[in-house]
Symmetry: C2
Subunit: 337 residues, 2 copies
């Protein structure tokens, strides 16, 4: 069987079978000296050395040229920003604070040094803003360009996980969705969409701002289940539901679409909002009383968009304003599809 037939998520679940806990030899670290708070399979892993009061978070994310970005729609500087942003977002999804980054670049030999400089300028901008420090990395020759970032973070409170959503919980998002996908589409058909709204969307695509502050508000207010929206609101909610063994309903008219979306894409703005990807807002689930308290403490666009239900694990039903199931207009994103 080939990877393309199995799909990304099939492969990930096989890998989780193949790995798992390990024994140790005399010079190895003793498993008695640390605790794995959150294992492989969530936005980030969390581990605590028992001699330390600090719980650390660990995540990694990769972008490959031609698959996750092209130089036409993502200039080098923005690529640097985004490569770090997607990792910060994973730490934000755990309610943590980002700390140290390792940056790996795979570069064709004819890459311009000025382009690499731009890439680092973008990384440095976002690192400065979010207090991340690049402490290492690797640079290798590769026929295709890629950038892999590994990021650590510090948990503030108990890390939020994908596995804690329960029937009866409400579902919230910390900000607007669809802007990044709309920006990408606006850039790809630039000639037709040159207005200010299209420009705003392009910025949403090229400079996403991870919701670190929002994640900390969530965890401080008792939220236990969250993840970030990187592959699209509906798909990511399906993953959260799958991890928790529950289903969900989304009220489409409650979804906070990026305000510029409707004016640029009057027909399919809702599909972009539901399935777009790279939004880097946080999706979370909580009992109604917890939800209503936290939603007031979050910045403006945060919204309650649905509820967790019994049902087939991972099944997400989108309901329109009349309560009728809404069919999907676009295709999901599978890294190996």
């Amino acid at each position: 069987m080939r990877v393309s037939q199995l799909g990304e998520f099939g492969l990930i679940s096989l890998v989780q079978e193949w790995t798992g806990s390990v024994a140790s030899d005399p010079v190895a670290i003793s498993p008695d000296t640390y605790r794995i708070d959150v294992d492989n399979g969530d936005d980030a892993a969390a581990a605590t050395f028992l001699s330390s009061p600090v719980t650390e978070l660990y995540t990694t994310d990769t972008m490959v040229e031609g698959i996750h970005f092209t130089s036409e729609t993502t200039p080098w500087r923005d690529l640097g920003w985004k490569a770090i942003a997607s990792n910060i977002s994973d730490v934000a999804a755990m309610g943590g604070t980002p700390a140290f980054a390792l940056v790996t670049l795979g570069l064709p030999a004819d890459t311009l040094v000025d382009d690499i400089k731009e890439l680092y300028a973008g990384m440095t901008e976002i690192c400065r803003e979010f207090g991340v420090r690049v402490i290492g990395g690797d640079m290798v020759r590769s026929p295709v360009g890629f950038i892999t970032v590994a990021l650590t973070g510090i948990a503030s409170g108990r890390p939020m996980v994908r596995t804690a959503a329960r029937p009866g919980h409400l579902v919230g998002v910390t900000g607007t969705v669809g802007g990044s996908a709309g920006g990408l589409r606006a850039m790809l058909r630039e000639a037709r969409d040159v207005g200010a709204a299209a420009g705003q969307l392009a910025i949403a695509h090229r400079r996403p701002r991870p919701h670190v502050a929002e994640g900390q508000i969530l965890v401080a207010n008792g939220i236990e289940s969250a993840m970030d929206v990187s592959d699209g609101l509906a798909d990511d909610l399906a993953k959260l539901c799958s991890a928790s063994g529950v289903a969900a309903v989304v009220w489409a008219d409650q979804v906070p679409a990026d305000p510029a979306l409707k004016s640029v894409f009057s027909e399919d703005w809702l599909d972009l909002a539901l399935y777009g990807g790279e939004d880097y807002v946080l999706l979370f689930a909580a009992p109604p009383e917890v939800m209503s308290a936290v939603i007031d403490r979050l910045p403006g666009p945060a919204a309650i968009i649905g509820e967790i239900t019994d049902g087939e694990a991972g099944a997400v039903t989108i309901l329109d304003a009349e309560g009728n199931p809404r069919h999907r207009g676009g295709a999901g994103w599978d890294h190996f599809g």
Copy 2:
């Protein structure tokens, strides 16, 4: 200017200029809460949260298909082993113990799932043996296969660095060199070298054993300057010298070449030992009295092979048994050359 003209090390030093310390915003981690013990540019970075007694190590290393490995000479299972081994070796070079790994795979869509299973089998073998736990990762589609591992570790004692070699220090290695390069070459011309010695070399290439125990012996015995041998003994010594602002002399007849090398490569065994790469032993420098004490505590093949001198930073002179400079038979390894 293109990356190929600048070379790997030129690029790395530019990147060190472009990055560096960062400011922070209200939700960011405060720079007052941690200390960077070893920054970007060594085998691994080291950092300590001030509230914790644990100093952590962070490193990452990447292998790209067709550049760092081919399926002909490195079966998938061995590739899994080696991808983790090179990272463990970086932690060993700091005198640390490896802890947690993040594994990123870039895979062409037609990759066989059974091959990935083999890859993880090799990773699991070495993780089990060295007490490493895979706690996360990423899998992405890519036109070219690659594997990036990020590894954390725990420092035992003060991390050894590349920058602490001083004129008058002696230079030691913790084990034999050249076996991996010899194994690669033996496999590439298999028809001629099918003896047991060639088989031993192939194992050295496919299953290198990082020197974690040796690194801990070094740090426990007061060694302050070390690195691992991944790009070849002479080249890596040049890097250590460059980082310390010193030069070095190597006594070629003291270099512990892999015992199988001479029988398989009677002519250029010494070039393989000096310039081969992927040996994953440790190279270290120390004052003579420290060196003589530690060398007796290391396993058999460890040897004193030269000395640190004044001179052009990074200049390494190889002397033959008669004390005459020896000229290099092979080319060094530059990732962008």
